[in-house]
């Protein structure tokens, strides 16, 4: 009886069978700025991320998506509310302890890729291992494997300036992936990409999310990304206003591809 009641009270934490909660946020409030410019960007957000799922966080510009992502990734600390990442409560942790949590459990993907222009693709990926103290030939093997995984086997030694936007974002995906984090957080990963590259990156993210040990959250306001989602959270003005799970009614990735082909043939 008790267990069912709990689930009903906080539906966001109900993980589907075979998955588990790796990140849980409760009543997150975040105020930004000072004095007259103070903004309450988040007004009490609760959510949980499940392994094996690609969750999309959608909402209009300025609704607090990036702020929420920064808090979930332990880059910003909430004004109030609690956050647990990989079973570890983050309240009261020092900046160094939060950094340690990030390097072990969180992978980031950014809108503008944030690759190091002076490092090759392989070195960029390897950097994520290096900050954790993983060095040597193993690190090189892992970095190369991650780049193979995102289809950049032939671009290991290329510098970001010689890669297309789509390729750069795939390097960033490999970098977020290489340390096997429990959570991957992506902020507008397709916003800077054309439709074809954007879809490729989304396909990659949804494939990565199939891993039963990992949750993926992507912030977006791009409707093209919807078909890849297992679950969509809607945010408006600092509050979660809705949650949907993909049902039979929604076009799946494969249906979308079929439709695109049909359109192209017509």
């Amino acid at each position: 009886m008790t267990a069912i009641a709990t689930v009903q009270e906080t539906p966001a934490t109900a993980a589907p069978a075979g998955t588990s909660v790796v990140l849980e946020a409760t009543d997150i409030v975040k105020e930004l700025g000072h004095g007259a410019g103070k903004v309450r960007a988040l007004k009490g957000v609760s959510l949980a991320l499940n392994t094996g799922e690609l969750t999309l966080l959608m909402g209009p510009s300025g609704s607090g998506k990036t702020t929420l992502l920064s808090i979930l990734g332990c880059i910003l600390s909430p004004t109030s509310g609690t956050l647990t990442v990989a079973g570890k409560p983050t309240t009261g942790l020092t900046p160094e302890a939060l950094a340690s949590l990030r390097r072990r459990h969180v992978g980031f993907i950014f809108q503008s890729y944030n690759l190091f222009p002076t490092l090759t693709a392989e070195e960029n990926v390897r950097l994520a291992l290096d900050v954790r103290g993983d060095r040597g030939s193993d690190a090189i093997v892992h970095a190369q494997r991650a780049l193979h995984h995102v289809g950049l086997r032939h671009k290991l030694k290329s510098y970001p300036a010689n890669l297309s936007g789509g390729e750069q974002q795939r390097v960033a995906v490999a970098r977020s992936l290489v340390g096997a984090p429990s959570v991957i957080l992506a902020d507008e990963p397709t916003a800077a990409l054309d439709s074809e590259n954007g879809l490729a990156v989304m396909a990659l993210l949804s494939q990565i999310a199939k891993d039963k040990s990992r949750a993926v959250l992507a912030v977006t306001h791009d409707p093209r990304t919807v078909p890849f989602a297992d679950r969509i959270l809607r945010i408006e003005d600092g509050l979660i206003v809705g949650e949907e799970r993909r049902t039979e009614g929604v076009e799946t990735v494969h249906e979308l591809a079929r439709n695109r082909k049909r359109k192209a043939n017509a």
Binding site: T66, G73, Q111, F116, R126
Partner: protein
């Protein structure tokens, strides 16, 4: 990867790297020259005192340095010799006087007179002729460095000192004086006549103390018998000469001050370029922070950038400094580079770069890690 990042950051902007290296070069070369001149000056100031074979120096009261000493009575030598524990006491004459060039005009010189058979102070580093040559009439030995200054070409040339004629019978190499006044080596008696010193006067008595004898006791005994003179150990006379030339005249202070100034300017330039480099790469440092790097990791990148600049700057700076040292070798003011000075410069370069890194580190510590996101 910290080293790779530091290296790439450094070489990413060649112009800034060039400015950084110029800053370090400027600093190292300036410090090397100033301290090298200091070492050179020090060597010149103490060379006579070091070369002269005397444990205790008897001299006129209030003598400030080797070159400028009032005469004392020649009999003080015998007083010293009669003191228990004294093995030998050798007279030495030095004084400033005028050298009249055969080509016309005159220049100030320091005449040094001693009889080499006594084992007092004889010219060294002789490249032409020999000390025994001083036995001939009018013979003097001079240093090659000062040939032009003395208006002569080499051995065999003559000039006039006071009312006497002198003939150069030998040349030394590298015996230079801090005052840029040429040294003229000759015998004791000839020196006296060149500077018009009475026969019963000398300038110093170089006293050797028997091995095992108590030097302080010997000194006290001599002092008791010669209350008008001063008796200094070799080390004391060295210190006194150095204090006079380097500190009382302000020359040493100027040299060391110049070195400190070089360090400050170098530090400011390196700090400036490192800071602006860090500012340019700030978004990368923010990304590193987002990727979970510790602040120590980021400091390491910046310090390595500073350290690499230091190594590059040191190597290039030393190359230039050694060239200057080489070129100055045969001038009147040689710049000296010693292993100790080279090590000191290396330490100073690293210290300078590490201090320079502080402002850049301060800058990254204030990064808002949320800048990784587009807002």
């Amino acid at each position: 990867m910290t080293l790779t990042l530091a290296f790439r950051n450094l070489f990413h902007d060649r112009v800034r790297l060039a400015v950084t290296l110029v800053g370090i070069l400027f600093s190292i070369v300036l410090v090397a020259v100033q301290l090298g001149l200091y070492l050179g000056a020090r060597g010149m100031i103490i060379s006579m005192i070091d070369r002269a074979d005397g444990d205790l120096w008897i001299m006129a009261y209030g003598t400030k340095n080797f070159e400028e000493a009032q005469p004392i009575r020649a009999r003080e030598r015998y007083v010293a010799l009669a003191t228990p524990g004294v093995v030998s006491a050798v007279p030495l004459v030095t004084a400033f006087t005028d050298w009249r060039k055969p080509t016309g005009g005159s220049t100030l010189v320091v005449v040094i007179g001693a009889d080499h058979e006594d084992g007092g102070l004889a010219p060294w580093n002789i490249v032409e002729g020999s000390v025994t040559g001083l036995g001939v009439r009018d013979a003097v030995i001079v240093d090659k460095t000062y040939l032009a200054e003395l208006g002569i070409k080499g051995v065999g040339d003559t000039a006039q000192v006071g009312s006497s004629r002198v003939r150069v019978v030998g040349l030394t190499e590298g015996i230079r004086s801090f005052t840029v006044t040429p040294f003229i080596f000759t015998t004791l008696n000839r020196a006296r006549s060149l500077i018009d010193m009475p026969a019963d006067n000398i300038t110093y008595v170089l006293t050797k103390v028997a091995p095992g004898a108590d030097i302080e006791k010997v000194r006290a005994d001599i002092r008791a018998k010669l209350p008008d003179s001063e008796v200094l150990t070799k080390a004391e006379f060295r210190t006194r000469s150095l204090n006079h030339w380097l500190f009382a005249t302000g020359a040493g202070v100027a040299l060391i001050g110049g070195a400190v100034l070089g360090l400050i300017v170098g530090t400011v330039i390196v700090a400036q370029t490192l800071y602006s480099s860090t500012k340019d790469h700030l978004s990368e440092f923010a990304t590193l922070r987002a990727l979970g790097s510790s602040s120590g990791y980021i400091h390491k990148v910046i310090l390595m950038q500073a350290g690499l600049s230091a190594v590059l700057g040191y190597v290039l700076g030393m190359a230039i400094a050694l060239t200057i040292v080489y070129l100055s070798e045969h001038t009147a003011l040689p710049i000296v580079m010693s292993p100790g000075l080279a090590a000191l410069l290396l330490g100073l370069t690293f210290a300078m770069c590490a201090i320079s890194a502080l402002s850049a580190i301060g800058k990254v510590m204030r990064i808002d890690p949320a800048m990784v996101f587009n807002r």
